[in-house]
Amino acid sequence: MVTNTSLAVNIENLGFHYPGNSGVTYHDLNLKIKEGERFGLFGPNGAGKTTLMNLMTGLLVADAGNIELLGHKIGTKSKAVNKLFGFVPQDFSFYQELSPIENLEFFGAWYGLNRKQIAQRSAELLEILGLTEVSHKAVENFSGGMKRRVNLAIGVIHNPKILFLDEPTVGVDVQTRHAIIDYLKQLNKNGTTLIYTSHQLSEAEGLCEQIALVDKGEIVREGKLDDLLEEYGHQDLEELFLNLTGKEYRN
């Protein structure tokens, strides 16, 4: 059922808890992300960023409330909404025994693309992400940076309208990080809404226009990054982050 098409993500009165109340719990959470935004979701370890992203992608099922992606409810039996978004998890989410092209062939088919579309998009993505020369080699022998690029390529093969990115640049060198961030900006220019989490706050500053700071199952603050920095009088996101979430260790 399509209800609100101007929002990429619309979360209303979300309630969620893990079995036995272990881990983060959400009560009555609301969040709106507009189409075409570059949205950053930040918080300390255990704050609930990944849980929220898993709820938005349907990996976890909410106890209460609604989550809509481009006006389509998520968490229903219909998987049609899953065509609208791509997901780049923090873990390498592909078959390491296969080559990049073989992974793209499989995931492309499962995203609902036909053979021609898969061939076109694969060639394009491998070229953009610098993987053409190794496109037929098993991914298990790749460096961490190359694997990150394969991970990203699979998540965007179907030209998603929303792209969820969970720490997409963790453990990569500066060159790969720049290449990935540049490509993400390019995707956004072409209309893809980016929803991004990372602990690389300096990187996030360059990428995200809108942010939400999450802690203990609540959205502490959300808004335009520049506005928030100005409001709190901080120079950068890291200072703002520490101010709003505290300096104590988190597990």
Binding site: V81, K83, A109, G112
Partner: protein, 427 residues
């Protein structure tokens, strides 16, 4: 359909790169079937074709011990090798080793004397009972005959030892009866018994006609190949658990599964793809092992595999066995948390299910309770169906009774898999 095709291609690619998995699925069963068939073939030949070598140490110089040896030779079960009559037990044992014999017999020095005395005694008793005058001068109560000594290699199966004992008893009986008849004839007629009459009396017993009974009227005797090829084919099919359940667990615990859950395709398509891929693997395993039995075994001095007359029945049974094996492997993969769990449980459970299912020891030889338990093993129904086809000349309609329980067990595995996937929110 395109998604399923892509999924099958992905599974085949991963499978072909899993060298250890392929070795376990193909090389291991091929080695097993060759080794076990060779070993069992030797035992089969020992029991069915080869004569048992028996070393005979004849300490008696009389005619009856010679007749006994001739009678033993005539039985057709033994290859007699005579050694000098003055040998002690150690020398006889050495003679057994030297002649590669499992058996040896010592005929005592007084064998002829004791049998003649016994015959005389029996003859006199018979004459008295007829009211005729016996030879009173020589009427002495015969002492018991000195026993023959049968030496045997302890590794010889008990059933063979009993057969040998029975055969030797028959030979002794023939010699004793003949001597008693001769003595009695001489006592009555005071002349030697005519050879023609002796032969008639000795050989005129009722014949035993042997009639082979099989479902298709085949007279071919089962051999080690007919037994082992189906058994180890089933074992190989179920051993795909090492690769398949590991593949399910690997997919579950690896990051790829997280992405799969976010895709607009149901994970059931992935499981269907694995079922199709691995079902083809099980059929290919059967093809390889059957081909080995048909074309390679004769080159390594093993009996060639005779395929059942009902080839369609064979295909259906193989399909049912393969599908059950695949269902079991996926079920274990869904419930296992780690690859180590899946591999460990998978391997041990297959060995146990094989043992109780009758792949290693025939289920008819099991004690009562174990026989009942064996029906819970899917491998039991697989082997029952295969034995029906391969050994009893049965057709598909005859082995349906084994296929139905097998499909029932397969449904249980499929049901458990569905419950496991639902509980883990995977479908």
């Amino acid at each position: 359909m395109f998604k399923l095709r892509a999924s099958i291609i992905k599974d085949v690619r991963i499978l072909l790169r899993d060298k250890v998995g392929i070795s376990l699925m193909f090389i291991m069963p091929v080695i097993l079937v060759i080794v076990v068939t060779s070993i069992q073939n030797s035992t089969f030949q020992l029991m069915n074709k080869n004569k048992l070598t028996v070393v005979v140490c004849n300490k008696d110089a009389g005619k009856l011990s010679a007749q006994l040896i001739a009678t033993i030779n005539k039985i057709g079960m033994f290859k007699v090798t005579q050694v000098a009559g003055d040998q002690n037990p150690q020398q006889i044992a050495d003679g057994m080793h030297a002649n590669d014999a499992m058996l040896a017999i010592t005929i005592p020095a007084d064998f002829t004397q004791k049998i003649e005395a016994k015959a005389k005694g029996s003859s006199n008793k018979a004459l008295k009972s007829f009211g005729l005058q016996a030879d009173s001068a020589k009427e002495v109560a015969p002492s018991a005959a000195t026993p023959l000594i049968l030496y045997y290699n302890p590794s010889i199966p008990e059933s063979i030892r009993f057969s040998v004992n029975g055969a030797l008893g028959s030979a002794l009986q023939i010699v004793e009866s003949r001597e008693t008849l001769r003595t009695l004839y001489f006592a009555i007629n005071e002349k030697e018994m005519p050879a023609a009459l002796e032969n008639e009396m000795q050989n005129g017993k009722a014949a035993i006609n042997q009639v082979p009974v099989s479902k298709n009227g085949s007279t071919k005797a089962p051999n080690a190949t007919q037994h082992n090829v189906p058994s180890w084919t089933i074992f190989a099919m179920f051993f795909i658990i090492m690769s398949l359940s590991g593949s399910v667990v690997r997919e579950k615990i690896s990051g790829s599964f997280i992405r799969l859950k976010t895709l607009p395709t149901n994970f059931a398509v992935g499981l269907l793809s694995k079922q199709i891929t691995y079902l083809c693997v099980t059929l290919f395993q059967a093809l390889v092992i059957f081909s080995l039995g048909i074309w390679v075994f004769p080159y390594i001095n093993l009996p060639a595999l005779n395929l059942p007359a009902d080839i369609f029945g064979l295909f259906i049974v193989t399909l049912a066995c393969g599908y059950c094996a695949v269902s079991y492997a996926i079920c274990v993969g869904v419930f296992a948390h780690t690859q180590e769990q899946a591999n460990g449980f998978g391997a041990v459970s297959i060995v146990i299910l094989s043992a109780i299912g009758g792949l290693m020891v025939p289920s008819f030889a099991m004690p009562g309770a174990l026989k009942t338990i064996s029906t819970l093993s899917p491998l039991h129904w697989c082997i029952e169906a295969y034995y029906g086809l391969f050994l009893q000349g049965a057709g598909l309609k005859d082995v349906v009774i084994s296929i139905i329980p097998l499909l029932g067990i397969t449904l249980v595995f499929q049901g458990l898999t569905y419950i496991g996937l639902k509980r883990k929110n995977l479908i």
